[in-house]
């Protein structure tokens, strides 16, 4: 049993090492990507734009639920007017980056892994190498940077739509004062503490999810089973990484140690 444990530990560290090398090569593709913005644009479309609908609908409902839940608690203390603050702060600080990252991992991360894994299984990556085209620069790097760019934008859309959803329920249905909803939010939310930190979180999440997704695809066994396992690993590991990192980042940003 100890033998197995040791082997598993060695394997995961070895994979981490390979993943880091791979990340380094991917990052070096930045010049290639900068020189050909068309490649990046196409990937931002498939990684980011195609995820917007999912993010919008989810954001709307999360915001609506927040307002509903928040109202029942806040009204006990007669503090309904701070509903706007509560909805906006939870979204901008936590739910926006985290929930959109989880959705992003499920929608875009899995697609990236499956796409790259299948390209590997059908020898397309190998064929590219033989055509003297580096697949890491040509295929992986644009997808990676597209993910890093898209994630904060998606999180911003999520939070914005969520706040509108909260307004819809809080002001429209539950009768919270419209002026108070917005002015309290404006007065309380801080640009650096709340919004900037939220953007940093979503940048980190985007970086990690896309890294995991492209690496799992590139590293997958070139069989149908290998690709399906890699896709599953992408979603599971990204979700796990997002939740752990969220705690660490929150502790760093807001914790008083």
């Amino acid at each position: 049993m100890f033998h197995r444990l040791g082997e598993a530990t060695l394997n995961s560290f070895e994979k981490l090492g390979r993943g880091s090398w791979f990340l380094w090569f991917t990052l070096r593709g930045v010049f290639e990507v900068a020189a050909r913005p068309g490649l990046l644009g196409a990937q931002i479309y498939s990684v980011g734009v195609l995820t917007v609908m999912l993010i919008t609908v989810s954001g709307l409902f999360v915001g609506m639920v927040l307002a509903l839940q928040g109202y029942t608690i806040l009204s006990d203390f007669g503090a309904e007017e701070t509903l706007g603050v509560m909805v906006a702060a939870s979204l901008v600080r936590e739910l926006g980056p985290v929930v959109s990252a989880l959705l992003f991992a499920g929608r875009a991360g899995s697609a990236l892994t499956a796409e790259i894994g299948l390209m590997k299984a059908t020898e397309q990556l190998s064929g590219m190498e033989m055509m003297a085209v580096d697949p890491v620069k040509r295929i992986v790097a644009p997808r990676f940077f597209a993910g890093v760019v898209s994630m904060p934008l998606l999180a911003a859309i999520f939070s914005t739509v969520g706040i509108l959803g909260g307004h819809l329920v809080g002001v429209g249905m539950l009768g919270v004062d419209d002026g108070a909803f917005w002015s309290q939010m404006q007065a309380t939310l801080d640009y650096r503490d709340d919004i900037f930190n939220g953007v940093v979180k979503s940048l980190v999440f985007g970086f990690v999810i896309t890294w995991i997704a492209v690496f799992e695809g590139y590293d997958s066994l070139p069989t149908s089973e290998g690709v399906s396992r890699a896709t599953t690993r992408t979603v599971v590991h990204s979700a796990f990484a997002v939740l752990v990192l969220d705690f660490l980042l929150t502790a760093l940003m807001f914790g008083d140690f």
Binding site: E123, G127, M130, M131, A132
Partner: protein
């Protein structure tokens, strides 16, 4: 120094190649010469590492020892940049075709040109149509790879392999899985392209008949070693048992029909 060692008139030379996968020796001191402008075939039973050999030549795998010279350059001593420069002059036809599935036929053939040259669009169009005409698929330019038959996909891949006018092409099992007609097309294309473009062709195959009709020179590999070499005619007359078994397709011979196993009767009664 490297140039001096490679035989005159040979574009690719392989010297004392040793390659292991795990404990298994795929190649055990193999020497091969590929003369310029000729079609040289590598034959052997499945699993003798014929595809591996092509990957070693393309620098995608590293040998454990020995060296491979392509156009006088030691493939595995090159830096990444030089290796990529060399690959631009080497075409490779994968068994599956390895077409990019998100691009149509035209864009697939144009891909190497767009990646490596700054030719104007009109020039690329002319070149792509010429390459497609050479493989008889100019009319299929707007199809997607998924809409092509296996034989057509291989011809598109061939057009792509010659897109940058390479000095050589490596064919990985070009005849396998083809119907008789598309097989004939491929045989004709390999010969025609070799002669008209002045290419050096390396064909890896286990189809004895087709290979015999086009190869100028054949090597037969078995268990990591070269067991026969020569022109198709001389190999058919070879007295070596291994060569005879392979050329005639006898089910049992030096290459055993049975995978290595314990004694049959003992195994059944165990």
């Amino acid at each position: 120094m490297d140039e001096a060692e490679s035989d005159a008139g040979c574009l690719v030379t392989v010297r004392n190649l040793v390659f292991r996968r795990g404990n298994r020796k795929i190649f055990d001191g193999v020497n091969l010469d590929f003369p310029q402008g000729k079609i040289t075939a590598i034959m052997g039973p499945s699993g003798t590492g014929k595809t591996t050999l092509l990957r070693l030549m393309g620098g995608q795998l590293r040998p454990d020892s020995g060296k491979i010279l392509v156009d006088g350059q030691n493939v595995h001593a090159l830096g990444n940049r030089d290796l990529y420069e060399l690959r631009k002059r080497m075409g490779m036809l994968f068994q599956s075709g390895a077409l990019l599935t998100d691009l149509n036929v035209f864009e697939n053939v144009a891909f190497p040109m767009r990646e490596h040259t700054r030719l104007p669009e009109s020039m690329i169009r002319t070149l792509v149509l010429m390459k497609l005409q050479a493989v008889g698929l100019r009319g299929a330019r707007n199809l997607m790879p998924a809409e092509l038959s296996g034989g057509m996909a291989r011809r598109v891949a061939l057009a792509r392999a010659i897109a940058l006018d390479p000095m050589m092409i490596m064919y990985d099992e070009p005849f396998s899985g083809q119907d008789p007609i598309s097989m004939g097309v491929v045989v004709k294309l390999i010969r025609e392209l070799n002669d008209s473009l002045g290419l050096t062709s390396i064909v890896v195959s286990h189809d004895v008949h087709e290979t015999n009709t086009i190869a100028d020179k054949i090597y037969i590999l078995s268990e990591g070693k070269v067991v026969g070499e020569g022109t198709p005619g001389s190999l058919i007359r070879s007295t070596s048992e291994r060569v005879q078994q392979f050329m005639t397709g006898a089910p049992d011979g030096p290459e055993r029909f049975h995978y290595e196993a314990p004694d049959y009767s003992g195994d059944l009664l165990a």
